[in-house]
Symmetry: C2
Subunit: 395 residues, 2 copies
């Protein structure tokens, strides 16, 4: 039997308990929970009845579909388990397992919920015009991304090729993107779906959403700028979206809840009014080739994730277990709080220093790692699993 | 044993052989092929080896994933089967079976490939501006739709609610859409996917695409007009998209291939140049409450479906079995060839007569049926299965 020691500041104490899907040379992909630097094999440590068979599944979807009551129950059982002794065979050092995409992604919707980001992008993409479109403060703007190219942290990102056209050119040219960027985001995973023709009320958020992941929504700005009018981003985004392997349960984020940053003005329509906001004090860190270049603050977001889900379903669109919706780039008011390089370098015109070099967009071989922490129930901060990716050349 | 008689003009002779997933009170959902007005149960009639177990699956995905060589082989076996006698238990009248969503939808991308439609919509949504955006003739514009709300023909469509803002109003109002519309489209279903980081060359279309369906991309024009700048359509479309139950194999559409309507000018970039075009002479019919109101001609589309797939993957985006991509509204140059009511009624300002009444957009209780035919190998025309839907009131 093993007892897991939790060092101070681990970020993965009993007030966190994020879930992943892992495998080892001797264990097929299955559900694990992280405690300090160990992965606990839930099927081996906890599997006692029929309901627990979900832990032997290669994705979190069957467990997530069991619903809020069950999520609470399992969390209580895991809390009791990790406080005591665990069978040796059910514990693996996190460095010795392989982590997989934790859930089958249903639909993926990306929002645009940071006022700072939307204002910056408006200035960069539509110079001379009002940076925020007239609808921006009335509804959380979002669009569907590509579910089939959501990949787990660590997956190499192949530089996309595509069409771009500089304003001075008569016609577009084709080639690998020369303005490859990141978007640091928080994503929310639906556990319990909702039927077509019904809505998820804004205050029912926690009954439907299982947890949160870090998201890097890789973006080719040159491809995006040429293609996105009038139907929105497509090829500039669809080549890859990375998510963290660890899904932090919403139950662990209760202590991170904060009001939205100021009164929403104009007041949103009734279906978007929360009784108590799901603003979250999650602080991200962006590392570029090992240098920290930004600290995007999720607490600065204009729209809460509960408002996003309520809006996304107000037209009767159904949701499914595994649906992923993300915040859009998290940017704060300060320069070193911007979650995309196009903002950090102001469209590439104001390079930043990375490892002693002036840099604007991503070069082949570059690596980006997003991490995050949030206040936990035990008084310290809980950690998200990282989302990492390296750029490999276009073929 | 039974012999299936095929009446003249059936549209479902041996040069068509579309696939669906059907069930009966005594048969779980499984793969069927249509011959005249009969459904042949492939698992019962053809299941002889391990590979044929795919016919007992509740979706076409496992069969589609077996690839082009297998599609050809199975088509030959079905052709031989239906020319002779079939066991009685393997044949069901089409009116006595229940038809299901024929495939698990991976990603759903909707294009905007009709020059007539894009020009009409540009005039209606952006009066005073150039109707086609500068990128339109350089790339097939498309965006991701919601996979989870793709439904099979016959599913009732709940009128969506949402935000809208008339130009004269100071702020948006909320309520059921008052400009509910259709989009008559052709959709293409990926059988064999492609890996992330690779492209599907424009001439490899038939190796990847299994077949075609009719699509009704229901659209709430008031919601769409308020939300769609800058990230494209979302709530105005995401509530429902209907597809026909029958998937016409691409192998049956060889006789329908036609050149695109005129030279593409400017010439597209090399990755979009087809050796032989996949333009298709598919003629749709739109029935509104039983009155035929339009005949959208697919042969008039500016971009071919092979160009759409090549574009969609040129950035290295992967594709999966079950991915659906649709043409966007099919509109021809004539008024009675327009595939959306917003075009047919010019934004609601020029009503059309339906069952003796002036009509613009859809009312509760309205029904829309799309059908289509194309030249078949036997010299006549083959038929698509219909895509039908009725509007039920918002809750």
């Amino acid at each position: 039997m093993t007892t897991i020691e939790i060092p101070d500041g681990s970020g993965f104490g009993p007030d966190n308990l994020p879930y992943a899907v892992f495998s080892t040379p001797g264990t097929a992909p299955r559900v694990g929970v992280r405690v300090a630097d160990q992965v606990v094999d839930l099927a081996a440590a906890l599997g006692t009845d029929r309901q627990d068979e979900v832990f032997a599944a290669p994705v979190l979807n069957p467990f997530m579909a069991q619903g809020h009551h069950r999520w609470v129950q399992v969390r209580e059982r895991i809390t009791a388990l990790v406080a005591g002794e665990i069978p040796d065979t059910a514990v693996h050092p996190v460095g010795e397992v392989m982590l997989h995409l934790p859930f089958d992604v249903g639909d993926y919707v990306d929002f645009y919920a940071s006022e700072h980001h939307a204002t910056n992008l408006g200035r960069l993409f539509r110079p001379g015009a009002e940076p925020l479109t007239p609808n921006w403060k009335h509804l959380p703007i979002g669009y569907h991304g590509r579910s089939g190219t959501v990949v787990v942290s660590g997956t190499p990102i192949v530089r996309p090729a595509g069409q771009r056209k500089d304003p001075g050119e008569a016609s577009p040219t084709f080639g690998p993107s020369v303005r490859l960027d990141i978007e640091a985001e928080l994503g929310f995973v639906v556990g319990v779906g909702s039927a077509m023709g019904t809505r998820v009320p804004v205050d029912a958020f926690a009954e439907h959403v299982f947890g949160a992941v870090l998201v890097n929504d890789w973006s080719a700005r040159d491809i995006q700028a040429w293609e996105y009018v009038p139907l929105g981003p497509h090829l500039g985004k669809s080549f890859a979206t990375s998510v963290s392997a660890w899904v932090v349960p919403l139950l662990a984020l209760e202590s991170a809840r904060v009001p939205l940053p100021g009164q929403q003005d104009p007041q949103p329509l009734p279906y978007l009014r929360e009784t108590r906001s799901w603003g979250l004090d999650v602080e991200l860190t962006v590392e570029w080739n090992g240098d920290v270049v930004s600290h995007p603050p999720y607490r600065e977001m204009y729209w809460s994730p509960a408002q996003m889900l309520a809006h996304m379903t107000v037209n009767g669109a159904g949701t499914r277990t595994g649906d992923l919706f993300a915040s859009g780039t998290i940017s704060g008011p300060e320069r070193d709080q911007r979650g995309a390089f196009i903002e950090l370098t102001w469209g590439g015109r104001e390079p930043i220093t990375v490892r002693g070099e002036d840099r604007t967009f991503l070069l082949d071989g570059d690596g980006v790692v997003l991490t995050a922490t949030a206040p936990g129930a035990a008084g310290g901060r809980i950690a998200f699993g990282e989302v990492a990716g390296c750029i490999v050349p276009a073929p």
